[in-house]
């Protein structure tokens, strides 16, 4: 009875804490500007099923794709087991679903196989990150925390899967000993190999089985609460993020409606624009970005596929699309913390541009869309870069001198170079 109460309190506390932190993230995302992404629901649903559920964009790199699929499928399916653990924990039962008979044996057996593949994939991932020295996992933005974050996730998953397998092994041995309530249930294709390593006394086995059971469920609850602080949040947000992703051609940049009104008024003096609230052009801080940009930032799992295909980054420039996303997340989280501490409207004197992302970074972008194409969950770093450029150019008139010259040429000569418009048709005279 005591353990049931402890279990109940633990579960409720974990869910409550997660809800608080989850709602903070939603609140932070809502600090972004409005943008309508509710059109074409069927196409959006299909995109989500293909990209997030079907992992279609992972296939480009087959080795991590297969390993990632093991972890993904394993984690999703093994969570059915968590349902049983929950019921057992709350009602003091043991393997409550054993009544399913053959099906139960099949389920437990497949969970074991999946747990093993998850374990194996995580070990390989750990080696890739820490021993193979792969370039994709390095870079200026991969400081101590992002590196530790990635390792914590892998270690937690390895420990959770190990606990699950040891628990089953102990249970299996107790079943053969005919101990207490350890009824014969389940099949143990993986953990059977662990049985010879376990102690032989019933008491020691029960202690082992119970500790692993508690470690497994407490670990899952703790992991749940780690998510809001971690890049691993993508396991939840990959779905809405792909659902609300851009469906238009990648080359199409938004036409700013606020500018359209002013330009129309300039070209046609009789045009009276509808009253709109004055806002700034482009983005200086994370709150000037759209909620989709901010959701992108919380979805990013820092895999670095974007950065590894970025022509600027490949040739040694400071720009890294992954850093753009990480900076955006860090900044909007900071803005959220300021709201928690000081209330809405507090100005900490910082902004996304300059305090997080430098001018050198945004001006190195070729707008080639390679980062957008590469992202397995349809994150769009380019849009953030463009919004920052818009602020620098339209609000501050701060562009590199040669860019200003190019724009001056367009204004005066209707071409980005300093040629006379009267000479535009001269090409027809050459050979």
């Amino acid at each position: 009875m005591v353990s049931q109460i402890i279990f109940l309190i633990l579960t409720l506390a974990a869910i409550a804490l997660f809800t608080v932190n989850f709602r903070k993230i939603i609140r932070n995302i809502r600090l972004g500007k409005d943008v309508n992404r509710n059109d074409q629901p069927t196409k959006r649903f299909i995109t989500m099923m293909r990209v997030a559920f079907g992992q279609s964009k992972m296939i480009v790199r087959p080795i991590p794709a297969i390993l990632h699929f093991f972890v993904y499928a394993g984690f999703v399916i093994i969570n059915i087991e968590v349902l049983e653990i929950m019921i057992d924990g709350l009602f003091g039962t043991h393997r409550v679903f054993h009544g399913l008979g053959g099906l139960y044996d099949f389920l437990i057996g497949s969970f074991e196989v999946l747990a093993f593949t998850v374990l194996l994939a995580c070990v390989i991932f750990f080696i890739r990150r820490n021993i193979l020295n792969m370039k994709r996992f390095k870079g200026v933005e991969m400081t101590a925390w992002p590196k530790s974050d990635a390792n914590y996730i892998l270690i937690i998953e390895i420990l959770l899967m190990s606990a699950f397998l040891i628990m089953n092994a102990a249970d299996a041995k107790l079943q053969t000993l005919g101990a207490g309530h350890y009824i014969t249930a389940g099949s143990f294709p993986v953990s059977q190999f662990l049985i010879p390593l376990l102690p032989n006394t019933e008491n020691a086995l029960i202690i082992l089985e119970r500790s692993c059971w508690w470690f497994h469920i407490a670990g899952i609850l703790a992991f749940l609460n780690y998510l809001p602080y971690s890049k691993h949040f993508h396991i939840l947000f990959a779905f809405p993020n792909t659902y609300y992703s851009n469906l238009e051609p990648k080359g199409e940049f938004t036409n700013m409606a606020s500018v359209t009104n002013e330009v129309k008024a300039m070209l046609d003096p009789s045009f009276v624009p509808a009253e709109t609230e004055p806002g700034k052009f482009g983005a200086k801080d994370a709150t000037d970005l759209s909620w989709v940009n901010l959701m992108n930032a919380y979805t990013c799992t820092e895999c670095g596929r974007c950065t590894s295909v970025c022509p600027a980054n490949i040739t040694g420039k400071l720009l890294s699309p992954r850093k753009i996303m990480m900076d955006t997340r860090d900044r909007i989280t900071e803005v959220g913390k300021n709201i928690d501490k000081h209330g809405v409207g507090h100005d900490d004197g910082k902004a996304l541009l300059d305090d997080y992302i430098s001018r050198e970074e945004i001006w190195a972008c070729t707008s080639c869309n390679a980062c957008v194409e590469a992202c397995p969950v349809n994150i769009d770093p380019l849009q953030i870069i463009m919004e920052l450029r818009r602020f620098a150019v339209m609000e501050e008139s701060q562009a590199p001198a040669s860019i200003n010259a190019m724009m001056g040429n367009i204004e005066n000569n209707q071409a980005p170079w300093k040629y006379s418009p009267a000479d535009r048709f001269n090409w027809a005279e050459g050979n």
Binding site: P249, G282, V309, G316, L319, V393
Partner: protein, 255 residues
């Protein structure tokens, strides 16, 4: 266009030349080759001549939405006044801007890039590869322009134009949706690159040269500049030619 209008006629298609195609000496050759192809197949086309003006693409990618929309609306006024319905562009940037960004500002046209036009003509049997220079067996590698490829998903049209040559088409490691930018997009064409350890066009040329090509095919005047500069820098001008799809097509047909 003004002359055609005065004569009370309408063109089948408007050829949007673009700033590079109008002023850049190298790109002017491509412009003339596109005209030769149009003439060869007997399409009634027109150009705006001095009435054409920058689409505003470089201004928009640089973040100057004001300048972009000023250019766009001025151009849309001209195009609508001439009742233009179909446009072929010589540049993927003009193509992307007019096709995707003009409709929201009141300018909706059927826009194609010249490689799409060439593909259509080949499919319709109006254009072949005969009567001119033979590319048979020659090694050609095609560089995907970002604003044609990733930006608009056009990968097959330019390759179709090369397939009819009976040439040996070799792909670079990074091609199609994974193609590497030449380094000119996003208004980079008009500025010095940021500090780094290599120029992007050199990175791309190194990759292109690994395929041992005789011809590097391009579909964009900016890529043309970047790739030609790269080949020059590598001192490979004699062995490797950088040619636009339109130039290759014109040559193959002896135009």
């Amino acid at each position: 266009m003004a002359e055609l209008m005065a004569a009370g006629e309408e063109p089948e298609i408007l050829f949007w030349v673009g700033c590079a195609g109008s002023y850049d000496e190298r790109a002017q050759k491509i412009t003339r080759d596109i005209c030769k192809i149009l003439h060869h197949v007997g399409i009634k086309y027109a150009v705006l001549g001095t009435e054409e003006s920058c689409t505003g693409d470089p201004a928009k990618r640089a973040g100057n939405e004001f300048l972009f929309q000023m250019q766009a609306m001025t151009n849309i006024e001209v195009l609508n006044a001439y009742n233009i319905k179909k446009i072929v562009t010589g540049c993927p940037h003009c193509f992307n801007t007019i096709k995707n960004e003009y409709p929201g500002l009141g300018g909706s046209y059927d826009v194609i890039h010249h490689t799409q036009l060439i593909q259509d003509l080949i499919n319709d049997g109006k254009l072949k590869a005969e009567g001119g220079e033979s590319f048979k067996g020659r090694k050609i590698t095609y560089h995907d322009p970002c604003y044609l490829g990733r930006a608009n998903g056009i990968y097959e049209a330019p390759r179709k134009a090369l397939e009819v040559l009976d040439a040996e088409l070799v792909e670079m490691k990074r091609c199609k949706s994974n193609g590497l930018c030449c380094g000119a997009g996003g208004a980079q064409m008009f500025k010095e690159p940021e500090k780094g350890n290599k120029d992007i066009n050199v990175e791309r040329i190194d990759e292109a040269l690994q395929t041992n090509p005789q011809v590097i095919a391009a579909g964009c005047p900016f890529c043309m500049t970047m790739l030609s500069d790269g080949v020059k820098l590598k001192d490979k001008e004699q062995e490797v030619k950088v040619l636009d799809i339109a130039e290759i097509t014109a040559r193959a047909n002896g135009l």
